[in-house]
Subunit: 122 residues, 2 copies
């Protein structure tokens, strides 16, 4: 991945199908730009040390917090501050761009079958 | 700006008209998410310590480097590594999301009439 080359989001999304498995598509200032496909319910988790940004590029999803929920539509984003428990849910599917520190684990404080420890660059 | 509230990019873009004047629309991990409207030619510059990401949300622009140029279309992004001289040009206008450290000055190493030292949050 040459960071001075442009990236076409649609083209990158066509390279994978697996849900809840983020792929790295960019890197800058110790942060990763990732693409991920949501379908169904993720796991409740939080990140101790990382804020996370979710930008919807296709579809929509519901970000559940313990006390409320927010629908994030195409062309919208939300920043979930560190320490805040959340669960993304996308019954109909969504493609989402993530911005987060390179250290971020997708399931945060939780380790389960949805945890991805080796994140591919595509 | 409550960082746990969602942000609608189109709605934010409707709040300002001025070109080459980035607005902060999000903040996480010491990074700023900004929106900026390009029209015409910017100034040649580089950033000593910051990589910069440019994501086109409307229109398109040409990123000029000293030895080449790259057109960035809607739904595409480019990361310009620190130290690399660049100049964005958008004859027909473009709306762009920036992702960069909070310390980043729009004109990098250059101070001129395009330099914005007070960046509004919208």
């Amino acid at each position: 991945m040459d960071s001075a080359e442009k990236v076409n989001i649609t083209e990158k999304l066509a390279r994978f199908d697996k849900h809840w498995s983020p792929k790295i598509v960019g890197e800058l200032n110790g942060q990763h730009v990732k693409l991920v496909k949501f379908l169904g319910e993720f796991v409740w988790h939080h990140h101790d040390d990382e804020d996370e940004m979710f930008l919807v590029v296709d579809g929509r999803f519901r970000m559940e917090f313990r006390d409320r929920e927010v629908w994030i539509e195409e062309g919208e984003f939300i920043v979930v501050p560190r320490g805040v428990e959340h669960r993304p849910v996308a019954e109909e599917g969504a493609s989402v761009m993530l911005f987060e520190p390179a250290s971020t684990l997708n399931t945060g404080n939780v380790r389960d079958e949805m945890t991805v420890t080796e994140v591919d660059r595509i």
